[in-house]
């Protein structure tokens, strides 16, 4: 241990540059991780404001605040920003910070590319947000941008949207390559694959998913571009094309994308629950295999997003069965977390609270997912608020709660200070209550028959919409508390030791807190 600290001290002399250039030119994985995380948080608040505009309009029936055209722009931009701007960069940020420290590497394998893959993002999102101020308005065809609404019938800003998606795709692919290269090449001696922390494993699999499907997304938007500007008819029935082809290609990207947004969350939760249960993860190997099975299945279930599009019976049956199968490895994961807690010695610090809420609420999202997989029942659920409830349950108390859990868990390692535990718990309970008041009633209004993406609704949906809107404002504003907690922790607070928590496992806890600018310049020994 002493040699490690000495080597850390030596490299400490090459500290960060000062001022803006530190962030512009940095190739340090910790700096880039920080950039990703702040960028993601800004996008989270931006997309959140859009969600609040949507919920404010839906507070009561009738059109009050925004017109339907702007409403559609808000639903579209909210979805795109949350998926590509908030959730994905947050996971990449966590990977940047943690993967090298977890595998015992001095940095990411491709540091310059790392810089580039981050710095593309602000430009991509700057471009996308600028469409809000263009004549004809921002994209208004939903984050799934189904053709021909997004081609023949789209506002002119769609071209900028396509370019922005290309940039995000390049950024994601480079990020994924970097993570794979780091995990496969830079592991410390003795760190065999089956000793990797689960966060690293889930990210490795996620990175392969990214490399497989981001080019498909790039392909589909390029086909749109050709249809719009170069006279092709990929998706134009009048020219011999097929609008349903768009959906097949989009969802071939889109379904693995869903798992890109949840697998790293599984990894985070699998780190946190053992720490606060003071007990090893029940089934490490089965967790790895379950993750890999989910990733494999994600490639053969895409058409369950398209049950009403007019698939032949055999197609419906195949995609129904394949989708139901996903419940098996997902179940294995949930059972593992519960078995890890069983006969543990539990404490409930903020990261654990978020992780526990993740397990419960993600499982509820999994249940509604299983219901949606049943094709005949899906005819009633499809494109209603039931679907909105489902994917928000897996994404907000799923992905985002896991990100929050990870942030609280590693914040002392990053800053050298403990966050304020009392405020952290306030943040958790406000978020937990807010998220359920927002999204649980959406199950009911969906089953009662309210379609999604409508700016105004029939009177029988009024009550639960009002409840959901109130919940959304509670959830939204509680996130400002998180901002305050993080800033306060950076500026000061109780000093954290190397281990931070009582019995954490992993190489990152052998380093001092805050983690020095350069770590593992000499590889640690892993037994």
């Amino acid at each position: 241990m002493t040699t490690l600290h000495q080597s850390v001290k030596q490299t400490e002399q090459h500290g960060p540059a000062t001022g803006l250039t530190r962030w512009l030119y940095t190739t340090n994985h910790k700096d880039i991780g920080t950039l990703y995380l702040w960028f993601s948080f800004i996008m989270f608040l931006t997309g959140g404001c859009m969600a609040l505009m949507i919920r404010a309009e839906l507070f009561q029936p009738g059109l009050q605040l925004i017109d339907p055209e702007f409403f559609n722009q808000m639903t579209t931009m909210h979805g795109l920003i949350m998926v590509f701007g908030a959730v994905m960069p947050a996971f990449v940020g966590l990977a940047n910070w943690m993967v090298p420290m977890m595998v015992g590497a001095p940095d990411m394998a491709l540091p310059r590319m790392n810089n580039w893959s981050f710095w593309i993002l602000p430009f991509a999102f700057g471009l996308m947000l600028s469409t809000l101020f263009m004549e004809g308005g921002a994209p208004n065809f939903g984050w799934t941008f189904y053709a021909p609404l997004s081609t023949t019938y789209a506002p002119p800003s769609v071209t900028f949207f396509i370019f922005a998606v290309h940039m995000m795709g390049i950024s994601s692919i480079m990020g994924a390559i970097n993570i794979i290269a780091t995990i496969l090449n830079l592991r410390a001696p003795g760190m065999t694959m089956m000793k990797l922390p689960l966060f690293v494993w889930t990210w490795l699999i996620t990175a392969f998913l990214l490399i497989a499907v981001m080019p498909v997304l790039a392909g589909v938007v390029t086909m749109m571009l050709m249809d719009i500007h170069f006279g092709t008819s990929f998706f134009n029935a009048a020219g011999g094309g097929d609008p349903v082809l768009f959906q097949h290609v989009f969802w071939f990207f889109g379904h693995p994308e869903v798992y890109i947004m949840i697998l790293p969350a599984f990894g985070i939760v699998s780190e946190i629950i053992p720490t606060f249960a003071r007990k090893r993860l029940f089934g490490y190997a089965s967790m790895v295999y379950a993750t890999a099975s989910i990733a494999f299945l994600s490639f053969i279930v895409w058409a369950h997003h398209m049950f009403t599009v007019g698939l032949p019976l055999a197609g419906e049956l195949f995609f129904m069965f394949a989708t139901m199968l996903i419940a098996v490895p997902t179940g294995v994961k949930v059972f593992n977390w519960v078995a890890t807690m069983f006969h543990g010695s539990l404490t409930f610090e903020t990261p654990m609270l978020f992780a526990l809420a993740f397990v419960v609420l993600f499982t509820i999202g999994g249940f509604s997912g299983l219901m949606l997989a049943i094709a005949p029942a899906d005819f009633q659920y499809h494109d209603t608020y039931f679907v909105v409830a489902h994917f928000h349950y897996v994404l907000v108390p799923g992905a985002i709660f896991a990100i929050m859990a990870g942030a609280y868990y590693w914040l002392p390692k990053w800053t050298g200070h403990y966050y304020n535990e009392r405020l952290g718990r306030w943040h958790f309970w406000l978020s937990f209550i807010g998220v359920n008041i927002t999204f649980f009633p959406m199950h009911f209004i969906g089953l009662a028959g309210m379609p999604r993406r409508i700016p105004d609704y029939a009177l029988q949906f009024a009550d639960f919409n009002m409840v959901a809107s109130i919940g959304a404002f509670i959830f939204g504003f509680s996130q400002l508390l998180f901002l305050y907690i993080v800033i306060a922790t950076i500026r000061g607070g109780e000093k954290a030791g190397d281990k931070v928590w009582e019995q954490p496992t992993g190489l990152e806890w052998t380093l001092p807190s805050p983690a020095p600018y350069h770590t593992f310049a000499e590889p640690p020994e892993v037994k």
Binding site: L63, R278, G283, Y284, R453
Partner: protein, 375 residues
Amino acid sequence: MRVSALPLLLAVAGGVPAARADWSLNMTPGVTEISQAVFDLHMTIFWICVAIGVVVFGVMLWSIFHHRKSKGAQAKHFHENTLVEIIWTVIPFVILIGMAVPATATLIKMYDKSEADLDIQVTGYQWKWRYQYLGEDIDFFSNLSTPREQISNDSEKGENYLLEVDNPLVIPADKKVRFLITSNDVIHSWWVPAFAVKKDAVPGFINEAWTRVPKPGIYRGQCAELCGVDHGFMPVVVEVKPQAEYEQWLADVRAAKAEQAAAAQQEISFDELMAQGEQVYNRACAACHQVTGEGLPNVFPALKGSAMVLQDMAGHIDIVLNGKSGTAMQAFRDQLSAVELAAVITYERNAWGNDTGEMVSPAEISQRTAASATE
């Protein structure tokens, strides 16, 4: 099988006073054999999920309460048990097979598209539905009939706010009705919850769906696929009538059509045209071109002060009748009667300070449509 504990729970949790609307919690069982089967499937799966949830969350809560460090719990260091892991892989698999069997049976029933008593082509348009009764010479459009003042909160909302149309689809009770669903522009989705029928309307393709409704009544649904700015304003209303009443309705529709054709030959005054034109405009055109005629910049062109409206009468009539391909501008020749077309064109040429003073007569429109039909 109602979830009766949930409203109570919610009332306690939410503490929100009940307003005029109901707190409907569950899917409708609907009125057809299929919709009942779908409802039963939904409830079966729901209760299976509840049961799994009770077990999993039960164990979790047990650990949270009993295995906490503050109660002096010591961690027991067990892990990796192949038998347990096989059990919790196999049991879910068996449950899934149990779910898949009834789901498959229901799906096969839904896909039985054999001979129907009546075929109706359903075409989605931005933002209305067109119903063509094949072999019956009946063809009409179905538009939202909720007044704009209700949507803008200037008057009280009616009982069927946003779920009412001018011309509902009428079908006979207890007959197998097949819907051939397609679209004229973007993708829509035709949905009536009470029948458990939801099928996308895809341009260039025809999707099939069917229903057999035993009980006469009025059933309401909505477009379910985002289709542009007025996606929230294109309801589906189906009126199911007993056979005799249905036949009477067919006769009435045909009589009304003949009357319309006669009206097209009548002289009609400028003021009458303007009055009717305003109504037609607000119903059929204002969603894009706006009530003010100013359109939306770069999306929907303005008619106020437009060169075509002010100068090019022939072009104006042509675009209203035949639409403009590759844009949201539809062909209105089949959507509106000759009188309505004449009225709306006259209105557009004279409203919002356009003041051309020109009018178009229904007879002119009839000539134009007749001429292009024989071309």
